[in-house]
């Protein structure tokens, strides 16, 4: 996936003894997190990514408001915009105008802008929630494997191998297809989203799990864990108070990098026709419908494609920046 992230401090160089007064003037009394944040703020590219992520999150949250101001309800048909013979927009540029900012969908005449805005909700929601599922499962399994070692580690490691040997996309497709229509007290799109979140999250946990396991393995050997044990701390206390704070950085970084992966995964599933129920707008779904109109309505293809691209890029930029900021090796 990406370059391994070392636990903060592991590769820290020995500092010259500066006498009785600790630290330089700059990092006096601040946590590593605060230092990382300062460094992150200096990384312009990462901050642009962060800005765009925040922007997309806002778009997703405020979708109804934005659409009310700038567009039409996402599922509203506008046949007056469609040529009855050709099925595509009856205005130039795919119907792009002040009224329809990104033009209209062929056949239905729905507002592409509104659908992109609403599509952000699905992408972001599933991206975030699925990542949380992966992170929770991955962290728990990774920490358990790394901390307890032995047969527990062997078992969990094999389990991760097995997961990695699965063609995930096929599995997810198959699973979404065979899942019941009402379960867990949910139905309709709520259930579909829950299932997508679970499946995407569930299949991706080994990626996080492996990293956390590795980190835990190296942390476990650190003397502060032994020190805690020699104070009489229980395993649970050590996991929670000693290991977890050190795992926050890698978890944060890999969550940030997993979100875009999951957004792409959701888009791919929608593209392959497995996703939330119509007529709910999703970027992947729009893209798959746009295939037929690549020449008559290129705006229909480009809009969702670029939406996915920019969002994923923004997350990646931010995640890369975050990793650099939290990486002790680049501290100098």
């Amino acid at each position: 996936m990406t370059a391994p992230l070392d636990v903060s401090g592991a590769a820290e160089p020995a500092r010259p003894d500066k006498g009785a007064s600790p630290g330089g003037a700059t990092d006096r009394g601040r946590s590593l997190g605060q230092i990382a944040w300062t460094r992150l703020r200096q990384d312009k590219v990462a901050m642009i990514g962060f800005g765009f992520v925040v922007f997309m999150a806002l778009v997703a949250v405020c979708a109804p408001l934005i659409v009310r101001l700038l567009g039409h309800p996402p599922n509203e048909w506008h046949q007056e915009m469609i040529d009855p013979v050709l099925s595509t927009a009856n205005a130039p540029w795919g119907g792009m105008s002040g009224e329809f900012l990104l033009g209209v969908e062929p056949v239905t005449g729905r507002d592409i802008f509104s659908r992109i805005v609403y599509g952000a909700r699905i992408s972001m929601l599933i991206g975030f929630l699925a990542t949380m599922v992966s992170v929770v499962i991955g962290t728990v399994m990774g920490v358990i494997a790394g901390y307890f070692g032995g047969w527990v580690d062997a078992f969990i490691s094999r389990l991760m191998d097995i997961f990695l040997a699965f063609p995930l996309l096929l599995f997810a497709m198959a699973l979404v297809g065979v899942i019941p229509d009402a379960a867990f007290g949910l139905q309709g799109n709520g259930l579909r989203i829950a299932i997508l979140v679970f499946i995407i999250g569930f299949f991706n946990w080994p990626y996080i799990g492996r990293i956390i396991r590795g980190q835990t393995l190296s942390l476990r050997e650190r003397e502060f864990v032994e020190a805690a044990r020699s104070l009489g701390a229980s395993n649970f206390y050590i996991l929670r108070k000693e290991l977890l704070p050190n795992l926050v950085a890698p978890i944060l970084v890999y969550s940030t990098l997993l979100i875009p992966t999951n957004i792409l995964f959701e888009a791919a599933l929608s593209f392959l026709g497995v996703g939330v129920e119509a007529p709910t707008a999703t970027w992947g779904g729009m893209l798959s419908e746009a295939v037929d109109y690549y020449n008559a309505a290129p705006n229909f293809m480009l809009a969702p494609g670029l939406a996915i691209f920019l969002t994923v890029l923004a997350f990646n930029l931010f995640g890369d920046g975050l990793r650099d900021a939290l990486d002790p090796r680049t501290q100098s």
């Binding site: 048909w77 050709l86 056949v107 229509d181 119509a278 020449n295 008559a296």
Partner: protein
């Protein structure tokens, strides 16, 4: 030589175009001119030239090449190249194409006075591709294997097993003694007698199915038969075929055109490539590199846009009705549709123009107001739930809602096949239209592969999931009201799985009418009865027909004798040849 000819052809088309644009065209007449929709009613490029390789492409693959094991119109049309049935459809454009003509049989079926025995006599001198003569036993065996061994061969229709009086015959694979199959008697080498349980006046249509194409028992390989079908038609398999691989047909030397009412031997070779990408297929069609889309479902959106914008290309396209009725079935066992008024609210609320748009606008289909397809003999236009411009009638909706006590509307579900984009869009259109009246429908997409077997086609599932409205489409197995209606409105056809009577309509009056039509000899009388069924079915307010589907078909210039066959609702492949 050929270059000159092409240049000439190009000149003619542009002249025709000029004429069209001056408003002079349209009459068709001889119908040899290549103009838009000419192939729907007339033969384009008539020619008797032989030779060449006719190239077909399929975007997927046939359910089976075994003539006894297939249920797709395209395949029924295609198998005519190597599998002749007892009777078949005439090779004519327009309505004449719906007429039956004897093929292997000397004449159409002869029915006994009690209506229980249909007798066919094979022509003389008929041979399989290996030269062995075709006997009545071979036809009997073919029917036995295709209808009575559902564990092995189950993709085709099962009219014979429903109609024939065969007792508990277990099929040729379980019971190797064909004499135990009493549903068909073969008093001599050439006579075939079908013994029916009850009279059935339209039996000739059943006999026209490829299932009556003879199969030599010792060459049968069960469900593997499709890899090496023993031909009795003008072409045979070049070699053993592997499913998915390109199919090559070559001339069958044992075929005698004299015995054939059709001319179906123009090309030297026939080739079918499967799993061809649609857009690629369309481009190759337009370039003439490929001759036909064998599935006959029409062009994809990209090509459609291109053709409709380009008069030259448009002149090579036809836009006939496919005989498919697109409709929503409303299930009265799902609340609140137990109340007819609630069903009527849906019928009045539907915006059929939006649904038409979903299927590609005017090119995609004509707005339908009743169930029976217009090309069916006896079709009468009625519009019992008509609304202004087909866009829905707010007043009537409000009235109906009030009548069923749901003034503020209600919640329901609309199911559709998720991998069928147009059906999905039509369902969305209905959802949007109903939403305006407070009828909030949740869309439920299911895979087409399981839609009929497990979801919409399972009454238990429908009730459990409360699928009030279900998108569906239906085409007739043969061009009559019986063939169209029997499966979708007859109470007896309701099944636990694989049900097509989605509205679970079980109206004694309709059932009786259909049963009676089955034993009525006079076609005119039958047609009247079908129109009556049509009216009754509409009156049940459980069916919302919205479109008579149309396809935009393309015929490359180098293909001769192209016309739309009304029988299988696609170009008649058997007649085609290639310009040399």
């Amino acid at each position: 030589m050929s270059k000159k000819w092409l240049g000439l052809a190009a000149a003619t088309t542009s002249a025709a175009m000029l004429l069209t644009s001056c408003g002079g065209g349209g009459d068709g007449g001889g119908g040899t001119e290549a103009e838009f929709d000419a192939g729907t009613t007339s033969i384009v490029n008539p020619s008797d030239e032989q030779g060449g390789t006719l190239k077909f492409a399929h975007s997927d693959q046939f359910d089976s090449l075994d003539p006894g094991n297939t249920y797709y119109a395209a395949n029924w049309s295609f198998t005519r190249f190597y599998a002749r049935s007892l009777v078949t459809y005439a090779q004519q454009p327009g309505e004449e194409g719906l007429e039956l003509v004897p093929d292997l049989a000397e004449d159409l079926g002869e029915v006994s006075d009690d209506g229980l025995t249909w007798t066919y006599t094979l022509k003389e001198g008929l041979k399989f591709e290996d030269g062995t003569p075709i006997t009545a036993e071979d036809v009997k065996y073919a029917v036995a294997r295709s209808n009575f061994a559902p564990d092995i061969i189950n993709k085709g229709p099962v009219y014979f097993s429903q109609l024939l009086d065969a007792g508990d015959y277990e099929g040729p694979y379980e019971d190797e003694d064909l004499d135990n199959f009493t549903g068909i008697e073969t008093p001599d080498e050439r006579t075939i007698e079908f013994k029916l349980k009850e009279p059935f006046s339209e039996f000739d249509y059943v006999a026209a199915m490829p299932q009556t194409s003879p199969v030599p028992a010792d060459a049968d390989t069960g469900d593997q038969y499709q890899t090496q079908v023993v031909s009795n038609g003008p072409y045979k398999f070049e070699s053993e075929w592997t499913p998915g691989k390109t199919l090559n047909l070559v001339r069958n030397e044992e075929y005698d055109p004299e015995t054939d009412p059709l001319t179906r031997n123009r090309p030297d070779k026939i080739e079918v490539a499967f799993k061809q990408e649609e857009n690629d297929r369309d481009n190759r069609l337009m370039s003439g590199d490929l001759h036909m889309d064998v599935a006959g479902l029409g062009l994809e959106a990209a090509a459609r846009g291109k053709i409709l914008r380009d008069e030259n290309l448009k002149a090579q396209a036809d836009n006939p009705q496919t005989g498919f009725k697109l409709y929503f079935a409303i299930n009265p066992n799902v609340e609140p549709f137990d109340d007819k008024a609630c069903r009527e609210a849906v019928l009045y609320g539907a915006d059929k123009t939006a649904m038409q748009a979903a299927w590609g606008g005017e090119v995609g289909g004509d707005i339908a107001t009743n169930m029976l397809p217009p090309s069916t003999p006896g079709f009468t236009e009625i519009d019992p739930y008509g609304t202004p411009e087909h866009k829905g009638d707010p007043d009537k909706v409000a009235e109906s809602l009030e009548a069923c006590g749901q003034e503020d509307g209600f919640d329901t579900k609309i199911s559709y096949r998720s991998d069928r984009d147009k059906e999905k869009k039509a369902a969305e259109a209905l959802q949007q239209a109903l939403a305006e009246y407070g009828i909030n429908a949740e869309l439920k997409g299911y895979e087409a592969g399981t839609y009929t077997s497990e979801q919409a086609g399972s009454p238990a599932f429908v009730e459990k999931e409360e699928l009030g409205i279900m998108a569906y489409g239906w085409g007739s197995d043969w061009p009559s009201g019986y063939g169209f209606f029997q499966q979708i409105v007859h109470g007896d056809s309701i099944k636990g799985a694989g049900n097509s009577n989605l509205s679970e309509l079980d109206d004694p009056e309709i059932n009786e009418l259909l049963d009676e039509a089955a034993v009525t000899d006079d076609p005119a009388q039958r047609e009247e009865m079908y129109a009556e069924v049509d009216a009754l079915a509409m009156d049940s307010a459980t069916l919302l027909p919205y479109l008579d589907q149309k396809a935009l078909l393309f015929r490359p210039e180098n293909v001769t004798n192209v016309f739309f066959g009304e029988s299988f609702k696609m170009y008649d492949y058997s007649a085609m040849g290639l310009a040399q």
